[in-house]
Subunit: 417 residues, 2 copies
């Protein structure tokens, strides 16, 4: 029912990635709404106009993002004025809002920023509380176009708090949509699909299963659409429970959460603290954990030990071990796991040492070789992995795998209690 048009040359040369359409999709999903399509187009009037025509063919609501900054390369505002009629006028309320936002940021209002207050007379303005670009609501023949900024945090906040509530009031929903997601580890996509083949073939019309593989895990999403909201909720829950039973212990979690969120949930429940000691992942595991609000309750810190000297001095890895087995070895990561808990003062640790590439590989330990150890009250578990792909993929895959290794220990610990 809703289409997004992301406007900007920078999106088409790959300098910036469109994250706004994903934010919008996640915001509307709980209300049973979904995106019909997304178009990414350049800052050219004819491309924008054609995209709007096409979007209105499939949707009665269109959200445009971007192309409304104060600089010359942004021509969306004039194009919308031509499309919906009217003339460009200065709006006093917008000017006041621009002044307020600029003052809060502690910078001076200049002419160009002030020009944000000039808007098409054919739109209703929604004041942008977190930025200077006005949000413009156009309406014609029961179809609505809302023009939003390109800056992700402005669009995220204003769409969630202002635009979407107003759209919901205008178009109360009639058909319900639900989805349930679980995380599965330890199986390839096709092995999982074969396991589920018979069950999947027997699914009713109104339910549908989707496989979303990510490095190191698979998200499995069950989608449903039905006029009867209560029936749908019960029916999807029943099928989802069957699914979990078939997959068994390979289910990591019954949610769409990131592995680091699941880890924090377990640590909080068990009242345990964690540290990381990272070589090849270079702080990425600590970064993933600390991206989650509230992580400071259980995450104490990390030592990123890129050099052997740091592995020895801050984590207590013996020089003999480094000489005899090398930095990328099980004895080294196990000593790092002990050392991380000791020097940071935690119950658990997550440790990596490997060769992320593109250079540094040997016949024995090719690029992608990563030794991972995790320490928990159950002791130390370690394993040597070989991950495919380039440097960033190895880092990403090793980080996810290491977090999952500790989650699995904590699940064992939980089940023993």
């Amino acid at each position: 029912m809703l289409s997004v048009i992301a406007i900007g040359d920078e999106l088409l040369i790959g300098q910036v990635i469109d994250t706004n359409s994903g934010d919008i999709a996640r915001t509307i999903a709980p209300a049973g709404w979904r995106l019909n399509d997304v178009q990414v187009v350049s800052d050219k009037a004819e491309d924008i106009t054609r995209a709007i025509d096409r979007a209105f063919e499939s949707s009665n609501i269109v959200i445009t993002t971007g192309g409304i900054g104060p600089t010359k390369d942004d021509i969306t505002k004039n194009t919308l004025c031509q499309y919906f009629g009217g003339e460009m006028i200065e709006d006093a309320a917008v000017l006041q809002n621009v002044k307020d936002v600029v003052e809060r940021r502690g910078i001076k209002l200049n002419e160009l920023t002030a020009s944000q207050a000039i808007v098409p007379s054919s739109c209703r303005v929604i004041q942008n509380r977190v930025g200077t670009a006005p949000i413009m609501w156009f309406e014609r023949d029961g179809k609505i176009l809302v023009s939003m900024p390109g800056v992700p945090f402005e669009t995220r906040q204003m769409f969630r708090e202002e635009v979407f509530p107003q759209l919901l009031e205008r178009f109360p929903s009639d058909s319900a949509i639900e989805h349930r997601t679980m995380l599965v580890t330890g199986l390839t996509e096709s092995a999982l699909a074969m396991t589920l083949d018979q069950w999947e073939n027997a699914l009713p019309e109104h339910l549908h299963l989707a496989y979303l593989p990510k490095p190191g895990l698979i998200r499995l999403r069950l989608d449903g659409m039905h006029r009867d909201k209560d029936f749908l909720a019960q029916d999807i829950d029943r099928h989802f429970a069957q699914l979990a039973e078939i997959i068994g212990e390979n289910v990591l979690h019954m949610s769409d959460a990131e592995p680091q969120e699941i880890l924090l949930e377990h640590l909080n429940r068990l009242s345990l603290t964690v540290a990381t000691a990272e070589s090849c992942t270079g702080g990425n595991i600590a970064h993933l954990i600390t991206s989650i609000a509230g992580s400071s309750a259980v995450f104490m810190g990390s030592v990123v030990a890129y050099s052997n000297d740091v592995k020895h001095r801050l984590l207590g890895v013996k020089n003999e071990t480094l000489e005899q087995y090398g930095a990328v070895s099980i004895p080294t990561v196990e000593q790092m796991a002990e050392g991380a808990c000791r020097s940071i003062g935690t119950d658990c640790s997550i440790v990596t040492s490997g060769i992320a590439g593109p250079t540094g590989g040997t016949a024995d330990k090719p690029v992608g070789t990563v030794c991972i150890a995790v320490k928990s009250p159950l002791g130390i578990v370690s394993h040597t992995h070989r991950f495919p792909g380039d440097r960033n993929r190895v880092i990403e895959r090793a980080s996810t795998t290491a977090i999952i290794m500790l989650i699995e220990q904590l699940k064992r610990l939980d089940s023993q209690k």
Copy 2:
């Protein structure tokens, strides 16, 4: 001249972000090619068919990504067979490739994975060396559609190494495109635009300036298109040099590089090493630096000191300082900067301590307050910042700002030599 269609329900519910179109855009840019548009559509045959029709209206080359995995939710292959004609047949060479890839990954071939070898008879297959989904090249009336996998690293590598070289052979370019990018700091977008107003108005037809603001810095891109390649290269260089002169010391770098790449370039040239000591950025600065291949030559390690205890024990911050001024204070980050160099054994350090939110703010130090210190051979420089936005935006903005603070010291050091 080229359109991308990204296929997959997961993209439209915001569970996965399309990064393939950006990868493709960056790959084709150096050859003077650019994307006309991107469409993101669902796994429905009629949506895919309509998107192809629309893409062929503006482009003679269409790349589709996704929708060709072995599981049931992927229906692209059959839809393409209907669109281009022919029938589904098993291709022996594809089957062999699937077997090879599966064997290299050390897993067993199952029926579903083997079904990847069934392809429309109307396509020419390009073997996917890094995955099991075949790449399919369709051609009709001089128009080409290439169907690629959704998995980003497969599409990135195979498009760069196989598909794009074959497209270039088929369509030698006639008009040249160039762009030059510089990074600007310390100015708002509109202040910069006003500074450049006169110069920008005097730009010739074939040149165009775009502003790409990112947290903490602005990318300024000068685009040019002209039939005469040599003239264009000279002309864009001349204008780009003028631009740099007008902006002066606010130019951080004459490239499109990430701040962490610029930092590594300076450290390498000056033969200096660096460590980070991170509280609120939680390892993100170390992660950004270590994402760059070769960073191990100058980056030694990091202490992520989330708890005060770690700040004291591993970085030597005095308990009196933490008690008197708090963890988020200039005295604390300055001691962390000394401590990081000392305990990790480096010449330089980058240090953060702040309140990323959503909780933890006070009237005195609201959410977004971040103290940053950098140490270099010129001594310690520190500053208290107040960043807008949510947790992840504060982390991102603080990380970029901290890296830029050290770059600026190293530029000073360089100019003194």
